[in-house]
Symmetry: C2
Subunit: 234 residues, 2 copies
DNA sequence: CGGTAATTTGACTGGAGTCAACTATTGTGG
DNA sequence: CCACAATAGTTGACTCCAGTCAAATTACCG
């Protein structure tokens, strides 16, 4: 089974995280843990200090509100770090698998020790966090300032771009295991309205999202209605 | 004039960023640059590689859309890093001063070199970015899943908490130089609706925001309607 | 003081939410 | 392998929160 250190050296989205030159850290020699679809990997408010690096599969990172609603913060993919906090304390968000998920788990203390002793690691982590930052910021723009149509279009384009970095998208086609309900919690809309919006997008021959399969039909018009500029994902 | 390295050692929100033990880096011996109110410090899509560390004053970090709208991503305060990107390339967002602003400016290359040679710096940067992450994520939750009332209430409480960390808030009272128009661009609402919402909050004796002065009136009820839990700002 | 920017208010509109029913798909145990 | 339950998707009718448009009124600044 592939260890974290091997994964890092060979992962296509190495840019996302850490690439080479520090495969000597002991803590990297861990094997991935496998989770079943729809299992909870960690819970908001829990107090453990595990940090996760996803190897493969789909997951959602979300924050639940008191009234039972939730906002999905991100859909981390292979190579992404999840749960790195600036200080000890209860978790900010929950992480759940959508598909079967392979995850490297390391303790915050171990990672920080390694960062302290090797500047290259710190740099890689910082860069990875900066990328997450850009993704979050664009997500915020999306929810705060775009209407249902362009918001949905934008998200589907972002997914395509992110998936293509890890080889999971091809010519505007990719598999997406998210339900419309999950989509709604990502986009800050209701399930019903997501449904209607997807219908509109299909009727306008922009994208189709059917049975877990996404297909970009008219990229030019789609990018236009989304106001999408992939630069932030570089 | 206080250099960056001196600032870091004495800044009250040291936790936000870098505290001690690395004041020996040359690049830290820079003086802050002073900007007038309402000046643009850097522009989205520009290609310079300066990174900013705020010393004092209010600023907004925002992203403009093609249709002329904008979403304010964050209101960075003293001690916050702005503009750290994971890779070279055009800027993601613009930074503008609201009040007079003092800013330390360093080049991305210099900062990265320093990170590479000193793990402690990398750690501090990573922690600072992780904090920004949490703030962005909560901002997203706010805009995506809370209505005008609790959204506005939540933001005012977040400001209070962040300001109190740098000694700018006292017993639920603080100065806030943001206009209602800027507030609207932060909260993903219109100016008109921000105005009405602030009136509601005042009428309900929760908070008042008048003439740049914010005052928490009934904290318990305010926290409740906001669904505010300051843990993410620790 | 005069002009510009910011705030406030009212009347009206509309996009997205709510409620509710129905259909399609998936998955599971007998 | 089917029956049937549970989950996911779809659609219509109606509501409402927030947006739009427009016009004061007030605060700020040179």
């Amino acid at each position: 089974m592939q260890t974290l250190s091997q994964f890092m050296r060979t992962h296509p989205a190495g840019a996302t995280l850490l690439k080479n030159g520090w495969g000597t850290n002991d803590f990297l020699d861990v094997s991935p843990k496998i989770y079943k679809p729809h299992s909870v990997i960690c819970r908001q408010d829990d107090n453990d200090d595990t940090i996760f690096i996803l190897k493969s599969g789909w997951a959602i990172l979300y924050r639940g509100l008191l009234d039972g609603e939730r906002q999905i913060i991100d859909t981390p993919l292979g190579g992404d770090i999840v749960g790195f906090r600036f200080v000890d304390g209860p978790r900010f968000a929950s992480l759940a698998s959508i598909t079967e998920l392979a995850v490297y788990e390391i303790s915050r203390k171990a990672l920080i020790d390694a960062v302290l002793s090797d500047g290259r690691l710190g740099n890689k982590i910082a860069c990875s966090l900066a990328r997450l930052n850009a993704i979050l910021a664009e997500h915020l723009v999306n929810v705060g300032r775009r209407n249902a149509m362009s918001r949905t279009a934008h998200f589907l384009l972002e997914l395509e771009e992110r998936l293509s970095k890890v080889g999971l998208s091809d010519h505007g086609r990719y598999e997406c295991p998210l339900t419309q309900h999950e989509l709604a919690d990502i986009l800050g809309m209701t399930t019903v309205h997501v449904n209607r919006t997807l219908r509109e997008l299909r009727k306008a021959d922009l994208v189709s999202f059917k049975a877990g399969h996404v297909e970009v039909i008219n990229r030019k018009k789609l990018v236009e209605t989304a106001g999408f500029d992939k630069e932030y994902l570089r």
